[in-house]
């Protein structure tokens, strides 16, 4: 398989954008999806909210949980979510760009663990958190998707990404999931 994991990040406006994206993922989606949504540090029912829009199971991983295809993993409030080869790891290191969970932390760890086999998606967001991470994914040979800033609720993150790296696709939110479905089926490296 060309790719091993999809990582997605969003902040302001991200709930609606994520709901649209997740709703578009098909039942037999062949990759794991790890998501960072900036969220208040104590709130806890975001996974249930997102589950209503998604046919794939949505949950918050525990430390050292295995990464499985066809599941959506949401970074828990107050922790950074990291990826190692085959399992998730958590950290309570200081916030990055005032964010914990941080999109950069997830994205950079995915690029470390999976090299060029990462698909990174940056959606609407009000801070730079995620721009550096997506640039790292692209730099290692992964695939970079960014939500069209003209249509994003907050264009700050999409524009920061475009300034940081050459991306593979700039898309309206409705087209992201169909593209991911296609990428998940690629076998050629």
């Amino acid at each position: 398989m060309r790719f091993a994991i999809v990582v997605v990040g969003a902040s302001l406006g991200g709930l609606e954008a994520m709901e649209t994206l997740l709703a578009g993922l098909p039942e037999q989606f062949a990759l794991p999806v790890a998501v960072v949504l900036h969220r208040p540090s104590q709130e806890s029912d975001l996974a249930e909210l997102l589950q209503r829009h998604c046919v794939l199971p949505v949950g918050e991983p525990e430390d050292k949980m295995g990464i499985e295809a066809g599941r959506v993993y949401l970074a828990p409030a107050g922790y950074h979510l990291l990826v190692e080869a085959g399992s998730f790891a958590l950290s309570t290191d200081p916030p990055v760009c005032h964010a914990r969970p941080s999109i950069d932390v997830l994205f950079e760890s995915a690029a470390d663990a999976y090299r060029d086999r990462v698909v990174g998606v940056a959606l609407t967001g009000a801070s730079q958190d995620g721009a550096r991470g997506l640039a790292t994914i692209k730099g290692r040979g992964g695939f970079a998707i960014v939500q069209d800033p003209a249509q994003a609720q907050s264009p700050v993150l999409p524009e920061a990404v475009l300034a940081a790296t050459a991306v593979d696709r700039v898309l309206p939110i409705a087209e992201v999931a169909p593209l991911l479905a296609g990428l998940s089926q690629l076998t050629v490296r």
């Binding site: 994991i5 918050e60 525990e62 950074h80 790891a89």
Partner: protein
């Protein structure tokens, strides 16, 4: 899911060499720390030490004692808060404390207490439940700076608002500000809370069991360890727990991936409170 079959990148090799060097040079063993979070911290250290490579960091760590100290402190610092994850403390108050009351004397081990906020939280809770004078809390950490802060019991005043909210959600019974004196930007916690606490340096990786406890609390420390090291520390905890003793973990930690799972029954699954049954 496995990573590619390419040989490990040079940085990962350098990290292994660095950790081996630090272990042989200082006795501190980071060789089984979880790689992803370790790597981030090492890269941050490279930035602050102004070296371009992990090998460059190794050179400095081996030949500059102050750099070694900064390195050790940087890799062992962890974050904490008072009444962090209030549901943990509420569950402890309602489900564990009634059991602890049946003992004439209670020993509690806070393993990895960091700067001590959760230790003081526990002391406050036990005082409110009328149990503190029968308790001895052992608060240990590998990081001597954090331990010294814990001994002092002085925390930023600016944090008290969030801590008050946590305290209330944890079932706190009085006005939280009764437990500290505000001076300039600091909140100085009542020295009486410390009378039942012993602070000591202890390294979960290299040190062994030192007592038998009725409760062990280790929250958001083992997330920095790899799976085999977590298993070893869980065995250390089992060796240090009385039969029917309690174990408390962080909100996103679990026993599920540990061989010790069968030795415990859950007391409160959400709060990550367990009781030893074997």
């Amino acid at each position: 899911m496995t990573s590619t079959d390419l040989p490990p990148p040079i940085e990962e090799l350098e990290i292994r060499l660095l950790l081996e060097a630090v272990f042989q040079h200082s006795g501190y063993d980071f060789r089984q720390y979880a790689l992803a979070s370790l790597r981030r911290r090492i890269r941050a250290q490279m930035g602050s030490e102004r070296v371009r490579t992990v090998s460059g960091l190794q050179e400095k760590v081996l030949h500059d004692g102050a750099c070694l100290q900064r390195f050790l402190l940087g890799l062992t610092v962890t974050e904490t808060a008072m009444f962090r994850d209030p549901e943990f403390f509420l569950a402890f108050r309602t489900k564990v404390v009634p059991q602890l009351r049946t003992y004439p004397f209670v020993r509690i081990w806070h393993a990895g207490c960091a700067s001590g906020e959760e230790v003081y939280s526990m002391a406050i809770l036990l005082a409110e439940e009328g149990l503190l004078d029968r308790c001895r809390i052992y608060a240990t950490d590998v990081n001597p700076c954090a331990l010294q802060q814990a001994r002092e019991g002085i925390f930023p005043l600016a944090a008290m608002q969030d801590y008050t909210t946590n305290y209330i959600q944890a079932g706190g019974k009085v006005s939280f500000s009764e437990y500290y004196t505000a001076r300039y930007e600091h909140a100085i916690f009542r020295p009486g809370l410390k009378e039942s606490v012993v602070f000591a340096q202890h390294n979960l990786v290299t040190d062994s069991s030192f007592n038998e406890f009725h409760m062990i609390v280790c929250r958001n420390v083992m997330i920095y360890f790899d799976k085999p090291l977590q298993a070893r520390v869980h065995r250390l905890f089992l060796d240090s727990l009385t039969r029917f003793g309690f174990l408390g973990l962080g909100s996103k930690e679990s026993l599920t991936f540990s061989a010790c799972e069968g030795c415990y029954e859950p007391v409160d699954r959400r709060a990550k409170l367990y009781r030893r049954v074997q």
